[in-house]
């Protein structure tokens, strides 16, 4: 993938597919320690020990349309190219946590890319799922909790034009602030 934010979009869909109702994403850019990492924690159905062991195999997949599942293997490769790696913990019936670590200064690290587009599309496509998104860049943090949006909007759908565009702009502004 051209951007890490595209890997994030991809991986978070696994959580949605696992019927998670709450997905927590933390993205950390720590130049001092030369690390860029993200973690996705969900309360979905989790994985058995057997599935967890085979999940980095490109021929392991939960879908029926194809016999390959490339999301996790591609992410693992992207991390390892920079000198980093992935770590996945999961418990059946409880959920999964995946941590991906990249060496920040590695010439082989893709840019983080457009996080506001990634988060906007997840938030508006999966309205029944709550997202907590924390993006830390060195000392700054941008925190988004979609449960706050839900509290204000009540029955009004995130898909309403005005709401959807507000969410996109809100995300764009928050992201931009991190790099000022």
């Amino acid at each position: 993938m051209k951007e890490i934010s595209l890997h994030i979009l991809d991986i978070m869909q696994n959580s949605v597919t696992a019927n998670a109702k709450l997905i927590e994403l933390t993205v950390t850019e720590d130049e001092k320690n030369d690390i860029l990492s993200f973690s996705v924690k969900d309360n979905g159905k989790g994985m058995s020990k057997e599935l967890l062991e085979s999940v980095t195999d490109p021929f392991t997949t939960g879908r029926t349309t194809r016999k390959v599942g490339l999301g996790i293997p591609l992410l693992k490769h992207a991390c390892e190219l920079t000198g980093g790696g992935i770590d996945i913990k999961s418990k059946l019936g409880e959920g999964t946590v995946i941590l991906a670590t990249f060496v920040y200064s590695s010439i082989d690290r893709q840019p983080l890319g457009n996080m506001s587009e990634t988060m906007h599309q997840l938030i508006t496509s999966y309205e029944d799922v709550d997202f907590i998104y924390s993006h830390k860049v060195n000392d700054k943090e941008f925190l988004v909790d979609t449960r706050e949006f839900r509290k204000i909007l009540g029955e009004v759908s995130f898909g309403e034009n005005a709401v959807s565009l507000w969410i996109l702009e809100f995300l764009r502004e928050g992201e931009a602030e991190l790099y000022n």
């Binding site: 599942g69 457009n114 599309q121 496509s125 029955e155 759908s157 565009l165 507000w166 809100f170």
Partner: protein, 121 residues
Amino acid sequence: MKSLAELEAIRQKVSAGVSMRKDDHAVRIVVGMATCGIAAGARPVMNAFVEEIGKRNLEHVSVVQTGCIGMCRLEPIVEVLVPGEEKVTYIKMTPQKAQKVVAEHIVNGRPVKEYVVGEND
């Protein structure tokens, strides 16, 4: 600066008008966003739909993503579902093509035949 107070104002405005209930007969634009779609460039395509629909202020049009549609080498794939009409499946989409689909198909009711999946694909 976007604020939560603005969101409250939007809620009031939408509630007062005709809002898009989840079971409403809205036009649905479904963008394939599995690993294949993302790698092929589906995210900017979905964003182009969102922005074009927002710019034209088209109500009752929802844009959502979906998983693998099964024709991975033809990604980015976009399905347009207009109530009462047959589903139209567009392949190898780009942000520019998305704008044209909104103008021709969504607004004027004429599917863009050149972008539709065919027998030779």
